[in-house]
Amino acid sequence: MSEITSSVLIRPAGAGRWFAVLGNLTHRLGLSAVGLILPLAVLGLWQYAVNHEWVAIQLLPPPELVWQSLRELWDAGDLTRNLAVSLTRIGWSVLIGSSIGWLLGFLMGLSRTARDFLYPSFEVFTQFPVVGWIPILIIFLGIDEGLKIAAISIAVVVPVTVATFKGIVNIPSALLEVAKVYRFSHSQVLLRVVLPAALPALFSGFRQGIMQAWLALVFVELLASSEGIGYLMVWGRQLMQLDLVFVGLLVIGLVGVALDVSLRYLESRLQSWRHAAH
């Protein structure tokens, strides 16, 4: 009797603990445990499809093969090396792209002259997809690192500029009048009204910028590169080792989620006053 109860009790308790840990983790990530149902179902379907050979194994590698490749690449250091290369590209491009984006956004948001001067050109600029820039960039930058960073930076500039500009333009004039009543200097207006009021927009622009950077990265690495996560995927496709492609997708997805979560965390720390709205 006591044996039965103990075994009966231990199992759910063990599982319960795991659920609790998992639930806690997802909660911290700002997700609900319910959100895990769909990925798990997809994973199940994937495994099921492989088991029943719905698709040729060369086209749809089984999950354990993907996992195994991931382990091998990790152990050989290939994964970290390629990820480091890609993350460096992303890092520089986000730094350059968002700096330019913030500068443009602030200039156009704060100065009528700058807006009249820059906005028409900027609007035309946004119409070109990153692909369109590449032939021109190749002429000036060759096909080395400079090209990649320039192309990805361009992808970052657009959403960051637009969000920053809109964030500043939409600052309630009521609050700007308050600043005038209390005789704020220009720098006080900037630091104490414009910046806090536009912060949510700045963050959302930055997040969009990072997302665009990933898209552009994969594209650029597919096009001309000998290392990086995107390159890993091209290579895998050419060798018909689709498990490598899946590894690439998985890594990009995970890094993307990790970046997004840490940004969201930073954002909520900087904006405790907005708690009510969330």
Partner: protein
């Protein structure tokens, strides 16, 4: 500061440019306000009350005529003139205490310690000691408006302008804040100009009630309220003055209803998101 000032408005005219048309909003406003006086201004929506306050505070400088404070023409905004807007206009990212301290940000007369003390005093004055560290989203409408009043008072301005400050509040809170305002006015001895479309409020608080009429905004009549304070709203004299003010609206029937119903109907705050022009220097 804190000594009250004489405010003189002479032949004030104001137009807004709407498209290519010039829309007259204020026409030949003349009014002389004694130091420490409490003047109420009533009039239906759209008759230019907020515009008048905007001119007096110095947020708008396109006008004809003179606005003189102790004989000197006003130029731009000044810490000697405070305003409480119809909406509280607190910075949502600052706490109650920080919002009030905004009033003293550019005050050069007080030392850092005096500022801290003054902020604490004013938090207590408006009864928000327990909420000093609360954010605006955690406050009720009445509390927010009290913070806005404290922010305007903390500089001890010579003149305080109030633009329908209690319009959005329930009758109970409004009556309470009216009394508070009167107490502060008596204590600080500053000049106050209260815009309202609640006739009872105007008579309750004002030494004089200025009745405005619309299109374009003009002064129709100025009525003295010769009643000792604390005033009783139900007294015969009070009611008589209230009736007298209301009669001024008799020839514009559409406004009478609005004014007699002890209006809690506040204009929805105008969409305050405008083009970035407000920011352009």
């Amino acid at each position: 500061m804190a000594h009250a000032a004489t405010l003189e408005i002479k032949n004030l005219n104001k137009q807004y440019q709407v498209g290519d048309k010039s829309l007259p909003v204020l026409e030949d406003i003349s009014l002389s306000i004694k130091p420490g006086e409490f003047v109420s201004i009533v009039g239906s929506s759209g008759c230019g009350k907020s515009t008048l306050l905007k001119l007096l505070i110095g947020l708008e400088d396109q006008y004809q005529g003179d606005i003189l404070l102790d004989g000197k023409r006003i130029v731009g905004t000044s810490l000697e003139r405070g305003i409480v807007f119809q909406e509280h206009r607190l910075f949502p990212w600052l706490t109650v205490e920080q919002n009030i301290s905004i009033g003293l940000l550019n005050n050069t007369e007080l030392s850092a310690e005096e500022k801290t003390n003054s902020i604490q005093e004013h938090i207590e004055l408006v009864g928000l000691k327990d909420f000093a560290n609360a954010y605006p989203y955690q406050l009720s409408g009445g509390m927010s408006q009290r913070v806005a009043i404290a922010r305007a008072l903390v500089n001890r301005p010579e003149v305080l302008l109030l633009d329908e400050p209690f319009g959005a509040l329930d009758a109970f809170t409004r009556a309470y804040l009216q009394q508070e305002l009167q107490r502060i006015w008596e204590k600080e001895g500053i000049t106050m100009i209260l815009v309202t479309h609640d006739v009872e409020e105007a008579v309750y608080l004002g030494d004089r009630v200025v009745v405005m009429q619309p299109r374009p905004g003009r002064i129709k009549r100025v009525i003295d309220v010769n009643l000792p304070r604390e005033r009783t709203r139900s007294s015969a004299k009070f009611t008589a003055i209230k009736e007298e003010v209301l009669r001024e609206f008799a020839d514009t029937p559409d406004t009478v209803e609005e004014l007699t119903t002890q209006t809690t109907v506040n204009e929805a705050p105008k969409n305050s998101f405008l083009t970035a022009d407000a920011l352009c220097y």
